[in-house]
Amino acid sequence: MRPGHRSSFIIVAMAALALLCAAAAASPGGLCAEEWRQAASQRQWSFPRDHGSHGEYRTEWWYFTGNLRGNDGKRYGYQLTFFRYGLATKPKQPENPWSVRDIYLAHFAVTDIGKGTFRYRDIVSRKGPGLAAAKEGRMDVRVLNWSAVMSSGRIELRADHEGTELSVHLTPMKPLALHGAGGLSKKGPAPGQASYYYSFTNLKTEGTIKTPDMVAPASVRGTSWFDQEFGSNQLAKDQAGWDWFALHLSDGRDLMVYYLRKKDGTVEKESSGTLVERDGTSRSLRLAEIEMKVLSYWTSKKSSGRYPAAWRIRIPSAAIDITASALVANQELFTTASTGITYWEGAVGGRGTSNGNEVALEGYVELTGYAGALGGVF
């Protein structure tokens, strides 16, 4: 996944807030007359400091997805995402915690693959008196009682909603991968259309998961994927949506691919991917290196959106030829409380060959812009 595309996601979500700035700028209060720092040049990364919040940039998110398995072999998928969106570089009343600088959003979804159920919830809050925060200097992000906190190199995730609960800790099994050019991920042809973007592509995951059907939480283990991205730029107006893949191959290779779809049906040239080898070394994949074909579709009854549901992906330069399909057809989210957009993000599985060997795969796919509405907001 490339910066700019997730950020556009936020901007869609925050269009309401962003737009007001245009009007507010004219008002005497000068609400939005602030300057956000741009992701213009390569960054001097420093971890764990850079796992924390970068408040000088307008948008930022911490994105966790994972494929888990219970002791009894039952399979689950989860998504837990935290967003920070800056509405002002400084709060009007710094001493009042209700005075808004950023707003924090979070999406949480759990897929019970065996039962074919999908549950999700989105929340939003301002900082308030301890209601939400993203600390600077280390990863400590909270929106209400959902949180992602890193300590001693281990990330704790917690979220619950109406009987759906997640409590896991994640341990990186590979070093972090910087996307694009040393973590500066260009998202469009114009200068400054970029963001800072890195991932932990392989996190060993242990903990418990619970769906409302269960009496008690079940122990699970598996693999998670983590993205962090921040920047201050806007999504181009001609974009319609994107397809994003984060896949773990059973031979230890991790693959990230995204396609940025334009309204005219073509694919944005800056679309690309990253391949992380078993030993942790990574390389960028150009659009030309990737071949993708949609094998089947699923139509949402609720939104009428027609989503791809199975794909064949070939990357000849890396000797990868795989098919992937949704493990549960309906993993569609309506984020009415927070971002207000409808998208599909779900666990996928499949098989194929890598370097000539038979491999199985699992991972997560995100599909946006299929249920209408998205383009109109820009």
Binding site: V12, A13, A15, A16, L17, L19, L20, C21, A23, A24, S27, G29, L31, L87, A88, K92, Q93, E95, N96, P97, W98, S99, V100, I103, V124, S125, R126, G128, P129, G130, L131, L144, N145, E162, T336, A337, T339, G340, I341, A373, G376, V377
Partner: protein
Amino acid sequence: MKGVVRSFLRYLVRRKSLSILQLLGIAFGVAAVVGMTLASRSALQGLGNAVDFLRGGATHTLERPAGPMEERVLASLMADPAVKHFAPVIDRKVRLEGWEQVRFLGVDPFLDRDVRSITARIGSSGKDNVREEAFSSFLFDPRAVLVDENLARNMRLSPGSTLQTSQGPFRVVHVFPNPSGEPLVIIDIGHAQELFRMKGYIDRADLVVTDEEAFRGRWATGFRLESGRQHALTLSALLGAFKLNLQALSLFALFVGVFLIYNTAMFAVVSRRRDAGVLLSIGASRGQIAAAFLIEVLILGAAGGVLGGVLGFLLSGFLVKIVGNTISTLYFFLRPEALPWSFWNLAGGVLLGTAASIIGSMPSLIELRRIQPVLVLRGRTASRGASKRARAIAVSGAFCLAAAAGLFSLSFLHVYVGFAGAFAFLLGSSLFAGFIIILCTPAAKYIFSRVMGLSGKIAVGNIRENLGRTSVAVAAFMIALSMSIGLGSMIDSFRSSLLWWMDSQLRGDLYISTKGDVNVPEELYEELKGIRGIGGIDVFRSVPMTFRGRPASITSIDASVLQRYDRFGWFEGGGENWEAVKRGSVVISESFSRRFNVKKGDVVTIEGADGPVGLHVTGIYYDYASEHGVVMMDRSTYLGLFRDRTINSLGIFIDESGADHARIIEEVKQRARSYNLPFATREEFHKRILHIFDSTFAVTRSMRILAVIVAFFGMAGALMTLFVERRKEFGIFRALGFTTGDVARMTVAESLGMGLISFFMSTVVGTVFAVILIKVINLQSFNWTIFYHFSAGPYAVTALTALAASLAAAAYPVWSVLRKYPVMQIREE
């Protein structure tokens, strides 16, 4: 049977004017009840809607026992596993220009949308740029507010308009739908904190709780957790006495209405008596005659009911405003909408009209069934044994009064018992009407023959001779006049008690911020303490509380200041009570003592910020500020108990020795102005309280007028019947040489005579009724003592009413006499 019914019903057509009067009598009686019922129902429904709308999906509210709650509590709520959703709320009142106070709600739009729908729509994504801008303004502009559609309509507001308030101007950024009638202004919670000077605090949290029991266990100490049901109960308890009053008033109206119908039925029986005899003689059964009569009464009742239903509906539009004003003044803002027209108004009116008709005509029916055809066919009327009967009825009246006395002595059981006693008293008194007429006859004859000559003398004779009819008319009119005197005297007594109370308790020279919407910053208090010449400042704070499951309130004051300057009216104990109050004891209001049966020396347990605390009651004082009861304590005690430093208002007492009275007042005013706080001198403050008091009794006053209108129709009906019945006599008068003028005078004299006797009776009955209202009803429903205070006003007003009604009631018969007299003959039909 058909013929029998027909013979009766044709009377309705034949005696149109009488039928119309009877119809109007019933209609107004029904209208009073329907109107009052609709008004109070729409008020309560409006309240219910407002409460429901405000509560949204919240199952519970959490707040501190007194004063605001620290906002950091929210983080704990967030972590509580039983809390599904929580939303902080700052719930205040602000006075709008030209309006009462309206609710000003501070909310967090992010958290609130899980509880209420109000803020969910603003800022939701969509093409509506205006709405998006609205959301941003709402978050960033400290003067940006959302207003509900009703308020917007009434004040002609739209996004971009300015809302002028006692707290300065606000910018309307969005108008939201509000199905409840309560006007609502919404502001961001952060801005609300700045506005109401309560940084770090909220008023309460609205919660969606899944496991109440577990949650309750974790939040037992220092908090008040109220479920939606409890909240509704509390509100309903808050309005309990008020509701009861409305009910009682409409019942009184119905009582007069039933009386009128009895009146009407009685006349009908008198005029049907001979026909009934004829019918019996030609073979109609008594049952058939009774049925025919009942049908006639029912048709009148139903028609009157229909008319009453319509009139009542129209009346409710007017009453609902008064009721809404009263509730707004006393409890919380409510602008109830009159209920829309419904078929049930008619159905209810008909039901009421016919039911009242049946009850009211029962005695007449019984009389009809007992009719002796022999007597009636020989042209004798029942008046022959009337004086004997009048005595017998008076005896039963005496029993009724005894029953009333018995009920009063049991009224401590429930206020309804008191009401029953009041009804029994009125009924019993009314039964004396015939007896009183007999007693009054000699004196009245003397007076009227002196004043009006022969006509007057004959008129009094007529009243006496037609006792069966006149006594009922007098009874109905007397009851209406008594209610007028009773309610009037009660209000006057209450008013004078209130004046006494204000004069003893509210003796400050200047009061700052008594309007309830703005609190006084502590800085101002500190500043004022520095002004030389101020003898004392009473720091007033009042918070609602729940005591033994029922609403009450806690008031904190400065005991040493009050000890020095005020002269409390003590129910128990005296000025020495303040010494104990200064040391941590409390004094309670009379209403608190009666309501909860707490006596001097008892200990009241109050839920404080650190759990329950027992407080020693050192005295009981007279109070009319809250019928729910007040526990009053020194500010130091209060602060220790609740750690709530809020000040609602200040009472400034200037030192008597200081010569510079005016200058000090002016300086205090200046300081108050600099904080943008309203202030009032003692006189202004007292005047405002009286104004509130007067508006409270607007409903009572309008019901009083209605009762008199209803009685007027009864009176006019009675006269009409007398007139119709005695046409033959008019013929005889004519034969004897009476002029038209003589007969007209006689008619007026009859009316005046009945009016006079009614009024004479009502002065006694009304005074006793006032005492009953004061000593039984008020004491039971409001739990406070009103001191009976005689004032001539109600009597004078009622006398004028009686005079006017008597003259007006005579108008039509007189007109008929003038028109028909010349052709009248001595002739049977």
